[in-house]
Amino acid sequence: MPAQLSPEAAAIVRVRIPSPLRSYTGAAETDVAVPVLAPELPPTLRGVLAALDLGYPGIRFRIIDEQGNVRRHIKVFVGSRLAGDLSTPIPAGAEVMIVAALSGG
């Protein structure tokens, strides 16, 4: 698990991984440690994905393009809500779920 910071400085966020990305994680879910700059500033999806990529190099670019947008056939949920962009805050205890949308043939 890529947690590298002390519990005081980091929020632990559970990330659920879809099957196309499990070649990176080897598991359907993983916990990542996201730095918390101040108690009143919750971690964001940007921080979660950065922490995920630290543990599993290359995974972020398969999800997010070089302009910082979620790729066309990927959806990311924070809790039960679809995340609009990377600045989406992660409430305490919320899980991040990455979904490979139905597509292709």
């Binding site: 879809p18 196309p20 990305l21 190099p57 290359g58 670019f61 398969r62 999800i63 997010i64 393009d65 070089e66 302009q67 910082g68 947008n69 790729r71 056939h73 990927i74 490979a100 949308a101 597509s103 292709g104 043939g105």
Partner: protein, 381 residues
Amino acid sequence: MARAKKTPVPTASTKRVRLLVATRKGLWTLASDPARNAWKIAGPQFLGHIVHHAMLDPRDGRTLLAAARTGHLGPTVFRSIDNGRTWKEASRPPAFAEGSGRVVDHTFWLTPAHASEPGVWYAGTSPQGLFRSGDAGVTWDGINGFNQHPQRKAWCGGDQDGTPDGPKLHSILVDPRDARHLYIGMSGGGVFESTDGGADWRPLNKGVRADFLPTPNPEYGHDPHCVRFAGGHPDRLYQQNHCGLYRIDRPNDLWEDIGVGMPKAVGSIGLPLVAHPRDPDTLWVFPMDGTSVWPRTSPGGRPAVYRSRDGGRSWKRQDQGLPKAQAWWTVKRQAMTCDARDPTGIYFGTTSGEVWGSRDEGRTFRCLARHLPHIYALESA
């Protein structure tokens, strides 16, 4: 027409042939016995990945790169330094500059650079972008001389324009005499040349038709499908274009139409082109139906290779062993190749997942593999 001067190139007379078969659903390899008679298939690697291209580095004989993506995930490059036994992902795959607004949909084309630059590779992407790796494919950087050229958008059009599967930068050619002398082909955009290692580019499209554009002789905006050096003679290039077949003999900058000798019922439209590895006057093409709504099938459902031995002045149909009727597949621009043997082997992979091969320069063909996924690229390795 003057015949090109031939430069002797050593041949590997009895070497086994290996083919890298890049498909819509993964990568396979086909390996021959020394006689090129028996073939064994192995794979898949990357099952479920769309593999647009896979190439061996001829400078070390063991490094392989594969350009891949899946239906869901973003594009990447896989690399092997042990001839395909193990693979690792590039740590920084080709990607446009942050803030440019452009997104690489997939890496489409891979070219090992000059023999004097071990570990250097070039990659062409969809939409049109040019990238360079100096560490055998681990990290990639954009070539700003192209990607940020003030004329790039005028040359290429928007990122949504172009071929049905997305606009592409392909046919990255490195002059074997000069590492800084490069050519690229773009669908759309045309053929461009750089003499300073990619710092600047100029269009090289005179004489090439662009029937789909309103101006009769545009400087750029053409649709080359595949551009190759003539074997052993890098002052000559052949081009299979959306609007016919062409040859150019540098330093001349005018392409000559060599499609006029093709049978009218077949036409001169196609995607791939293969140059003989040693004879600069010999090349092969695989025509497809480019009439009406562009079916992109073999014309009339009767597939055939066409070969010229006189630089494109005349063509001979080669279809012995191929289906005689009701075969509606075609061959994509990277899916036809040759080996270095004498006589040269000619190979192609079809949109219906078959690999066909000839060990007598196209006189007779036989099917080497079938039931594979849609084949995107075939390279001899």
